[in-house]
């Protein structure tokens, strides 16, 4: 090769590489979150008040962690995984960076929720998450057509055969285990006991499979199935049920007899985040009660912001109270942190259920 051709090649290579390079300004907050957690009006208010700009990417728990793992914790400045998905992945992949609690206005949070989340996301004495939005998953039921569905295992009843749906993911395994009288969370630390529980759940889910119309994958798919009446009972998130309730009063969210499963989505900082100041500013901004109420409006779920309930709409409050009588609130099973390696056991179970005829 002549020197000239080498130069040309180098130029071509660098031109190609520039295309891949991320241009990240110091005051651009790249937020990886769930749909509804960063509504446009809130983003606008934030940009006006602080001068930072916000880029929102919507995702889900598994994809968030997969994305951060692929980049070693880069590409985003603030992410919102569920609180049970912080300690395990941090130990395994080191994708988060500790949160400086002194930069967060603790008075904005509901104290019990803040403490619980901080305790669950502590690794080696460092805190990796603070709470944002919380909610539950349970059952969405057409009360006219499937009045007998009161618990997860009722989805396997003969009278709703071919008209039920659930996700083939870990919440289903946990929910069925509780409905079968088992206690999966207590067995989290004991792989053998957990495997035994999962084997029982696997047998039940395979037995139940003919009853299932299809396993839903996304919220919109489930909405379509329930709206058209093709499915009359399903495992789902509370907000999904309340949204459908607004269109069709017969359909609503039911907290299962064995207890709804409670999740808390958090704020966490990716290991290679480049705009920590903007991230802290965003956290303190969206936790203000009046802003948090706007997020509740968009996402349908309540936040860990203290005093935001007062700003919530009367309709949502009424739906919440109808689905959650006080004893159902006490019965909520909050997800403890998932120990690293449990996914492999669950994965085998899910694969075999999917493959069963």
């Amino acid at each position: 090769m002549t020197p000239r051709t080498i130069k040309v090649s180098i130029t071509a290579l660098s031109v190609a590489l520039i295309g891949f390079a991320q241009q990240a300004g110091a005051d651009t907050l790249r937020l990886l979150t769930w749909g509804g957690y960063a509504p446009e009006n809130v983003v606008e208010m934030f940009e006006k008040e602080t001068g930072h700009t916000v880029e929102v990417t919507k995702s889900n728990n598994e994809e968030m962690i997969a994305k951060l793992r692929a980049t070693g914790g880069g590409g985003f400045d603030l992410i919102q995984p569920s609180q049970d998905r912080i300690a395990g992945p941090q130990l395994e992949f080191g994708i988060y960076k500790p949160i400086d609690i002194s930069k967060i206005d603790k008075s904005l949070f509901i104290p019990s929720m803040l403490d619980a989340t901080m305790a669950n996301t502590t690794v080696d004495g460092e805190v990796y998450g603070v709470p944002h939005v919380w909610g539950t998953s349970g059952l969405v039921v057409d009360t006219k057509k499937a009045a007998d569905v009161k618990d997860y295992t009722d989805l396997c009843n003969a009278d709703v055969a071919g008209k039920v749906s659930y996700r083939l993911k870990r919440p289903t395994l946990i929910g069925f285990a509780y409905a079968m009288g088992l206690d999966p969370f207590a067995a989290y630390g004991d792989e053998a006991a957990y495997t035994e529980i999962m084997n029982k759940v696997e047998a039940k889910l395979i037995e139940c499979k003919p009853n299932v119309k299809t396993y839903w994958g996304g919220g919109d798919e489930l909405m379509g199935l329930l709206r058209s009446g093709e499915v009359v009972a399903s495992m789902a998130w509370d907000t999904g049920g309340w949204k459908l309730n607004a269109d069709n009063p017969d359909i609503t969210f039911v907290a299962p007899a064995s207890g709804a499963l409670g999740w808390i989505d958090t704020f966490a900082l990716p290991a290679k985040g480049q705009a920590d100041d903007a991230a802290y500013a965003w956290i303190n901004f969206v936790m203000k009660p009046e802003v948090a109420a706007l997020i509740t409006e968009a996402a349908g779920n309540f936040t860990a912001s203290k005093g935001a309930d007062e700003f919530a709409s009367a309709e949502l409050k009424a739906q919440y109270q109808a689905s959650f009588p006080p004893e159902a609130v006490d019965n909520i099973k909050w997800y403890p942190p998932v120990p690293a390696g449990l996914e492999a056991i669950e994965g085998g179970v899910l694969d075999r259920v999917q493959a069963a005829q």
Partner: protein
């Protein structure tokens, strides 16, 4: 003069080389290295073949691969059966503007993304969908019928998705067949069947082979269609890879699956070529 030609050659080759090296070779080498790691503890890995052994030891994974391969083969055969008459009509019977219009008709569905096309099939086939309603209206059935979420629905989706990739190579090869050769076949006493068997199909063989390879590979690697149309009974090898990577955080096994897919599909294509007496060189030529 010679140096200039060389520079031109290098410049022309650069995009291809960059593409191959940056986007194909390097990621594959990295994937291969990942597939050779075994997780032995939190954040600890050892080099071993454990992931490949898992593939062969767990009947579920082998079974899923076999199912995917067989269904893809059937989809390829059905696509060929439907696409051949269509291509023959476009290339040999239709003339002038009619020809381009028909070809365009085959092309137009592909202006829409695969996701939308698959969703279109869902709207048609679902229990409250068009076909079900039509059947009820005509009195053929008295209650809604569910046509989604089974193997037939997956097959329909796969054939529809890959039709174009069969039609294009077939039309190209069939167009290059001189009409007079077909006429000569008839003059020499051949009938429609023997002309088709002795003249048209041998001439179109390279097109058939390349079309079949593309369709087979596309079906085997399809993720969207089996997932959306297959519902609870869809079991496709790409879904296993996706769930290992994204849901289980088990990149090591996912990478091993990826390589098994690459390896086994290459073996199947090679076997098919041998079986039918074709070679890749002839197809390209």
């Amino acid at each position: 003069m010679k140096a200039e030609a060389k520079l031109g050659f290098v410049l022309l080759l650069t995009p291809l080389l960059l593409w191959l090296v940056l986007l194909i070779f390097i990621p594959h080498i990295d994937m291969f290295l990942v597939s050779l790691r075994e997780r032995v503890g939190v954040g600890k890995y050892e080099t071993s073949l454990a992931n490949y052994l898992t593939f062969f030891r767990e009947p579920l994974y082998l079974w899923t691969f076999l199912r995917t391969a067989v269904m893809s083969t059937v989809a390829t055969a059905i696509t060929l059966l439907i696409a051949f008459p269509v291509s023959y009509y476009i290339a040999k019977i239709a003339k002038g503007r009619m020809q381009s219009a028909l070809f365009l008709l085959c092309l137009i569905p592909f202006y829409v993304s695969e996701l939308v096309r698959t969703f279109g099939w869902m709207i048609l086939l679902r229990e409250t969908g068009l076909v079900s309603n039509l059947l009820q209206w005509s009195g053929l059935v008295d209650q809604p019928v569910e046509m989604l979420y089974n193997d037939a629905a997956i097959m329909v989706g796969l054939v529809y998705t890959s039709m174009l990739f069969m039609v294009v190579p077939l039309v190209t090869t069939l167009e290059s067949l001189d009409d007079s050769v077909i006429e000569a076949g008839y003059d020499l006493g051949g009938n429609a069947f023997s002309v088709m068997r002795e003249i048209v199909i041998p001439h179109a063989a390279p097109g058939i082979v390349s079309g079949c390879i593309v369709v087979f590979m596309l079906s085997l690697g399809n993720y969207l269609t089996p997932t959306m149309l297959g519902g609870k009974d869809s079991l496709w090898f790409t879904q296993l890879i996706y769930s290992q990577f994204i849901v289980r955080f088990n990149w090591e096994l996912g990478a091993a699956f990826g390589f098994m897919l690459l390896f086994l599909s290459s073996v199947i294509v090679w076997g098919m070529l041998r079986l039918t007496g074709q070679t890749l060189e002839k197809t390209m030529g």
